[in-house]
């Protein structure tokens, strides 16, 4: 891949990918490190493999795996359960009245990935499955559980209305 081709891919994909990584990892430094590693891995793939899969789910899959590696490494280094959510989740503050960032950070990493890709990125179930390495048939159930978990947390903090079931 030439530098110009890479720049075009980067232009198309880097901004939403960084937003996703920021919400998955909780801070900008980690998100930027993983972002760069993701593109390094992407470029080091054999061209045939790289071209065989759609670029967007492929990049998100690499990025998600790298972020999970980071979580595992942090857990190993601390030799203790990873503190989650991290003490300083970016996006929490007086200018975000609903404190949505902290509520979102309390979810499991896979739930955060599912919700972000489905609701913010607007991906289809097939794309989400390809991006996260899951079976597309299980996305509906997993997404429903993730949404319910977030809705429950939002309600318990008064961030969402009670709804009659």
């Amino acid at each position: 891949m030439t530098e110009a081709e890479f720049e075009a891919v980067y232009e198309r994909t880097a901004r939403p990918l960084r937003a996703y990584l920021l919400r998955l990892g909780g801070n900008t430094t980690l998100a930027d490190d993983v972002l760069q590693d993701t593109y390094c891995r992407f470029l080091s793939m054999e061209p045939a493999k790289r071209q065989a899969a759609p670029e967007r789910p492929l990049l998100y899959r690499i990025a998600t795996n790298l972020m999970h590696d980071q979580f595992r490494r942090l857990r190993r280094e601390r030799r203790a359960p990873l503190e989650w959510p991290p003490p300083h989740v970016e996006g929490v503050g007086p200018d975000l009245p609903h404190d949505m960032a902290r509520v979102f950070a309390e979810l499991k990493p896979q739930q955060r990935s599912l919700l972000w890709l489905a609701y913010v990125e607007g991906w289809s179930h097939v794309e989400i499955a390809a991006g996260l390495g899951l079976r597309s048939r299980s996305i509906r159930v997993l997404l429903f559980r993730a949404k319910s978990a977030l809705a429950q947390r939002m309600r318990s903090r008064g961030l969402a209305p009670e709804v009659d079931r």
């Binding site: 960084r18 593109y39 949505m100 969402a160 009659d164």
Partner: protein
């Protein structure tokens, strides 16, 4: 109890993203608890994404990312070359150790048969003891090598 998502979840999700609500879907969402959840979860996440977008600093430079990937690839290639170059040495090392262990086993057995007054144990015990000592020594040598 297994709860299910509303069958119209994807339509509601799409409408919430686009902000375009057909009247019939609006009526459905107003009466469906699951869809109301979908709507407020969507709004919460959109708000978060909007704040992130407003605050986002500049992206890491594409060119530096490209150059970094080239550098990483070159380093990995060199490491691979070194590993490949060292492989015959490792094989030769293992063969030499195998030969030494075999010689020790033979020598131990021979010594206990030929000189029973000096080496009172059974030949097999001597062979095993010799091989054990040889293995320990070779392990130490390999470890020192690394």
């Amino acid at each position: 109890m297994i709860e299910n998502e509303c069958p119209r979840h994807d339509e509601v999700r799409t409408a919430a993203r686009a902000g375009v609500w057909p009247p019939e879907l609006t009526a459905h969402a107003a009466a469906c608890a699951r869809c109301q959840e979908t709507i407020f979860v969507s709004r919460g996440l959109f708000g978060l994404a909007r704040v992130d977008a407003e605050r986002a600093g500049p992206l890491p430079d594409a060119r530096s990312t490209f150059l970094r990937s080239r550098l990483v690839a070159r380093i990995e290639e060199e490491e691979d070359l070194v590993e490949r170059a060292a492989r015959p040495l490792l094989v030769a090392n293992l063969l030499a150790i195998g030969a030494v262990l075999a010689a020790l086993a033979w020598l131990g057995g021979y010594a206990s048969t030929a000189m029973p007054e000096l080496v009172p144990w059974k030949p097999l015990s001597w062979s095993l003891a010799s091989v054990g000592l040889g293995a320990l020594a070779s392990r130490r040598l390999i470890w020192m090598d690394e």
